[in-house]
Amino acid sequence: MHDHTTSTTEDDHVYLSLAGATPGPEGEGRWAYGTGFADPLLGVDTALPAGLAGADLAAYCQMLGDDALVLAQRLIEWCTRAPELEEEVALANLGLDLLGQARLLLTRAGQADGSGRTEDDLAYWREEYEFRNVRLVETPNGDFAYSIARLLLFSTARGALYEALAAHPDPVLAAVAARGVKELAYHREYASAWTLRLGDGTSYSAERMQAGLDAVWPLLEELFTAHPVELRVGVDPAELREPVLRELAAVIAEAGLTVPDVPPLATVLGRAGRDGVHTEALGPLLAELQVVARAHPGATW
């Protein structure tokens, strides 16, 4: 995901040095773009394991990859807006992990369905109704408490899912999950620490944190609602409900807050994010994500 327009103004000294304007000891540049090495699954065996339907595996990788891509985009929106520099760096780091997972998953999706679409084709050239992410990841950031509440729910559920997927028959998906489970543990730790800090802070911070949890909670159930594709090639997310809820309840109790008692967000005739039916928030998010790639189709460094 590195479609950028070329810019070579005088001010771009950093880029110029990366591009090799100041040669290293062996006259080599440090810039790999355009060298053919940017494929996140470079040289990885792409054969499908016997018994796995390519279309289903592709759809499943798209679901998980879209979750990661869209939440990464939301997290990155905190850059220049977070309460402290350290939090900005932290949120950007978490977004980077998710973006990395999205790149691998979308690349795998394009291989598995036989279309040969790249990560960039899938990220930049699909329409809103083709995105299969849960609605939890697409809603606007809200305040810091809402973003932390969302991160707590997502990282707890995704960590549990990756743990189960590390044994998946598809070696690529299994490897992404095995790597991801450790990354998500850091995300969970971060979100839990802030939930405790705000919940156990002043009465005002506790009120805001509780409001964040209340606002995000209706989107939780969708994470546990199985789409037929998930039942065919993935892990039944309903199995994660009990352990994930138990863990969330423990964090919330320790923070002196209350587990929200609110009904799940309605679906459209039973269809939701996994079916491409989204909230009104996804369109503007994708417009920003895709605008450069669409303004300059095929542009490279």
Binding site: A32, V44, N93, L96, L104, V172, A175, A185, A250, E254
Partner: protein, 185 residues
């Protein structure tokens, strides 16, 4: 490819030579370390008949932005060393861990003022629930993070996330200096 006196034709030695070329490539973000020090260079193979060199790299974090640079560097260095046909591939399984950083790598990190990671076995981490206490961020006596500047053990974490995905920001309460630390994964 010259100067392999006495061992010409030995596939093991040919492989070792190619390994040493790839192993010397510096990490783009921690240039004091080579890819071998970092444990990113997983394997190098030389096909005895065709002379094709294949190097496998295991990326650190999923989102590590340096992977493409690493692959391009390994390819460039091997070609510069005279191997005409080079393939660089990624190996995702088993995942990279900070336990793969060599003793030499840990020494170089500390020398550069970056605290090396502890063994992951010494650090409680996933799977399982996260510790539910904010607690002090200073390290316990069991698994201290010594200050890379003064060697003192009275150090504390400022932020779990730092300038790159693999590092956290710490400070020493004895010498008052901040330092970076490669965090366990």
């Amino acid at each position: 490819m010259t100067g392999t006196t006495g061992t010409v034709g030995s596939v093991g030695t040919v492989r070792d030579l190619a390994w040493s070329v790839a192993a010397a490539v510096p990490d783009p973000e921690l240039p004091m370390l080579t890819l071998a020090d970092l444990g990113v260079l997983a394997e190098v193979e030389v096909d005895g008949a065709s002379g094709t060199v294949t190097a496998w790299l295991t990326p650190t974090y999923s989102g590590c932005p340096a992977v493409a640079e690493m692959a391009a560097d390994v390819d460039r260095r091997l070609r510069a060393a005279g191997y005409p046909d080079v393939r660089v591939r990624l190996r995702l399984d088993p995942p990279w861990s900070t336990d793969l950083i060599t003793a030499e790598g840990r020494r170089k990190l500390a020398e550069a003022g970056i605290a090396p990671p502890r063994p992951t076995s010494a650090v409680a981490s996933a799977p399982g629930p996260v510790p539910l206490a904010l607690g002090p961020t200073r390290t316990g006596a069991a698994t201290p993070v010594p200050c890379p500047h003064c060697g003192g053990n009275d150090t504390e974490e400022l932020s779990r996330f730092g300038s790159t995905a693999c590092k956290a920001l710490w400070r020493c309460r004895a010498c008052r200096e901040p330092f970076e630390r490669v965090k366990e994964i």
